[in-house]
Structure formats: C-alpha cells, structure tokens
Amino acid sequence: MDELIKYAPDLLLSFLKNVQIAAVCAVLSLILGTILVSMRVSPTPVLRAAGTVYVNVVRNTPLTLILAFSALGLSDTLGLSFSQTPSTNGFWLVVLGLSAYTATFVCEALRSGINTVPLGQAEAARALGFTFVQSLRMIILPQAFRVVVAPLGSVMIAMMKNTTVAIAAGYLAESAFTMKDIFDDTGVSIPIFLGLIVAFMAVTLPIGFFTGWLAKRLAVT
C-alpha cells in the first residue's frame, strides 16, 4: 500500500497520458472510420478497393507492429516529425498509429450498421436527387450510427486499453510503462497493479454504461 501512495502522483500523471491519447484517438478514429466506410460503400470501384485493402491490412496487423511502423517507418525513416520535444513527438506517433488502427474497427462496425438500413432509404434519397455523399451523410450514416452505438462503445473501450502498448512506438510516458519502471526499482506491488486497474475501469466502465444507455435511448425513436 505504501508504494501505491508513494508513486500515486507519478502513476496518476502517466495515466492522464493514456486518457489524453485515448481522447484524441476517439475523435480521429471516428472521423477516419467514417471516411473509410464511406469509401467502402461508395459507387466508385477505386475508392471501394482502397478502403477494403486498407481495412483488411491494418485490422489484421498486430497493433504493436503498427505503432513500431509509426515510430520507425514514418518518424525515423521518412522523417515525419510532429515536434522537437521527443515525448510530444512520441505522443503524436502513438495517436497516429492507434487512430489508424482503431478506425478500421470503427469502419467495420459502421458498415454492419449500414447493412441494417433498408435499401429503400438510399433509393428514396436518390429519387429525390440527393448525391451519394448527401444521402450517406443525411440518411444512411445517421441511421447506421444509431444501431452501432453499443459496438462502437466496445471499440472505444478496447482502444483505451490499447494505449498501454504505446511503448511500441517508443513512447514512455504512459502508465503501464511507468508501472513497470516502478517495479524495476521496488519489485512487484499488488496495490499498484490494482490501483491502475481501478483507474482504467474508472474510464472504461462509464464508456460502456454511457453507450449502452445511448443505444437504448436512440432505439426508442
């Protein structure tokens, strides 16, 4: 228990990094996932193919490899740099890799949602003169989102937990690495383990409850 109290400030600060990464990734992966699913259902074969290839490659690659690619491939080899400060640069490399990865799950969740929207909805939109993008944005996606709110919640929970492999992109400021660092000094501490688990659950449980509640509410109307 003493170790937990002693290291609590360090752990808390680094856990906040996990939350920050997750918050930015949530926004980016929802945007990118929506773009990807738009490509996958678009009438243009090239866009459809590009979307399909992207999703299948990225979704089936281990996240640690994607993060390593983000750090080594994009940053070191191609010289992509977000900031002079290494920790800030690392933060954005993690965000980039994790968003690119999570977006594929967002895309597939949305696609299953789109499949539940009756064909007649898109047909009626086309018959009114809506373009593909208008019909997707105003008619199809709003209905698709409603049915996949709960699955999207699961995607976000997984993404929050996935922030703990940020080390794969060379990012050392998040909580799982901090914990290991502390264990190297003091030996394994069960209270620290439990403390960190509680911290994660304090974020992920509400995501689950909220999306579950939202799904029920949206299902009524």
């Binding site: 009756p118 007649g120 909805q121 047909e123 009626a124 939109a125 086309r126 018959a127 009114l128 003169g129 809506f130 373009t131 208008q134 105003m138 008619i139 709003p142 209905q143 409603r146 109307t221």
Partner: protein, 255 residues
C-alpha cells in the same frame, strides 16, 4: 387532357421511351419498349408479377440504367450521371410501394429535406410549403411525428407530399397501395385522383381498376417485358383486344 398521340405528337411528349431494352444478366426484362407520355397524362401500367412494370418505372428516373434504346425527358436524353442526373431525379417524383420515408426524420423533415438540400430553398419557406402539402394530403396533424408512428395510409400520403414538395414535372408510382391494409387504400387513391385532376403527369403501376377508370387516360398492359396492349381504361377492362390481357384480367377479377 391530351389524346394519346401519333408519332409526330410523341416528339412533344414529356417522356419518350424508344426501343428500350434491359437485361438482368440473361433475363431480358424490358423488350423493345416504345412509349410516350404526354404532359398532364396519367398512364396506368398493369400486368402479371415479374412482367417488368417496376423496372420500366425505375428506368424513367434512371434508378435503373438501360442496355439499349433511348429515353428522353423534355426532348433530351436522360443524363447518365452527376448533376444532370440529380436534377432529372429532382424533377421526377417517385412514390414507392413500401413508402421509404426517412425513418429518423419527422414527417415534416421528410417533406422539406429535398427542397432544402437539393433545391436550396430557405428552410422557413420549405417548412411553410411542406405544411401546406401535408394539409393537402390530410396529415398536417402528424407533421412532427416520425414515420413509424403513422398508419400505412398516412405514411404513403406523406410520401406523396414529399414527392410534391419538389414541384416535380411528373410522378412515378410503383404499386403505391399494394402494401396497405384494404381500409387505407382509398385515402391514398383519393389523393392520387385529385392530383390527376389537377393535371399532374403520372405513371402509375397499379392493379386498382377503380383508379384506372377514374383517373387514367391510358392503360399499358405489360407481360414478359413487353408492352402487349395499350388501350383506354374503359376498353381495356371491358373489352381487351389481346388474349394475354383477357387472361390476366380474368384472373385478377375472380380473385
């Protein structure tokens, strides 16, 4: 009302289908279709299931493409894509068998969305006109409900109001009453009969003889992808020329 015309009249028709053919794979669903529809004319399309009636209807606003022949609207070939196609569709209304109202929008939003987003009409004006149209089809009280809260007949009348809101030059109806409970059929037909009386150009796939007799200028009988007979409603139902039509009529009359 214009008479069904000869070849020269057809040049002035609103829609002209000339030698139209369409295939689904090996299935030849439209065979050498020649058909002109005058402005203000109401054409009823009737025929056995699978005969190609829906397909014919859907080629006119190009929800389905054709494989050969030409279709012109106001003398110009149907645009194949892009802005031109979107504009054509906004000028040709369509009412579906299963209503297809936007499920997540209110009835009023269903009616105003097209005018606002496609035509660029200010929301206030679109709403005012939308409410007038809902009034006209008798469902103004439902304006702020969602489609699922309405009866089938009310939903179909909302769908007609949605089509009218675009100020279309023509409306296509694909079996607008066949998904309805019997007691709701008439309320929808009444709206359609009124529209016909006001001079709206309409192509209506339906087996409702009452409607055809009261509102149609012409009946087109389709089977196996071909137009087998064109006739006036009265003649068609009492004294059809072709055996194929007589046979079909004897079946729907005795069912």
């Amino acid at each position: 009302m214009t008479e069904t015309g000869n070849a020269t009249d057809r040049q002035g028709a609103l829609v002209v289908l000339d030698n139209v053919n369409k295939y689904y794979g090996n299935l030849h669903v439209l065979r050498n279709i020649n058909l002109g529809i005058e402005r203000g004319e109401v054409v009823v399309v009737i025929g056995p299931s699978g005969g190609g009636k829906s397909t014919l209807c859907r080629t006119v606003n190009r929800l389905e493409s054709i494989d050969s022949g030409t279709i012109t609207f106001e003398g110009r070939p149907l645009p194949a894509e892009g802005k031109g196609l979107a504009r054509l569709r906004s000028e040709v209304g369509m009412v579906f068998q299963s209503f297809n109202l936007f499920a997540h929008k209110t009835i009023l939003e269903n009616v105003t969305l097209g005018p606002i987003k496609v035509r660029g009409i200010p929301p206030k004006d679109a709403e005012k006109r939308g409410l007038e149209l809902l009034e006209r089809v008798g469902i103004a009280a439902q304006a702020h409900k969602h489609p699922a809260q309405l009866s089938g007949g009310q939903q179909q009348r909302a769908a007609i109001a949605r089509a009218l809101a675009m100020n279309p030059k023509m409306i296509l109806f694909d079996e607008p009453t066949s998904a309805l409970d019997p007691e709701m059929v008439q309320e929808v037909l009444d709206v359609m009969i009124e529209l016909a009386g006001e001079g709206m150009t309409m192509m209506v796939v339906t087996h409702e003889m009452g409607f055809a007799r009261r509102a149609a200028n012409r009946v087109v009988f389709m089977a196996e992808g071909q137009i087998v007979e064109e006739n006036t409603p009265e003649e068609f139902f009492t004294n059809a020329r072709t055996d194929r039509a007589k046979d079909f009529l004897s079946k729907i009359l005795t069912h």
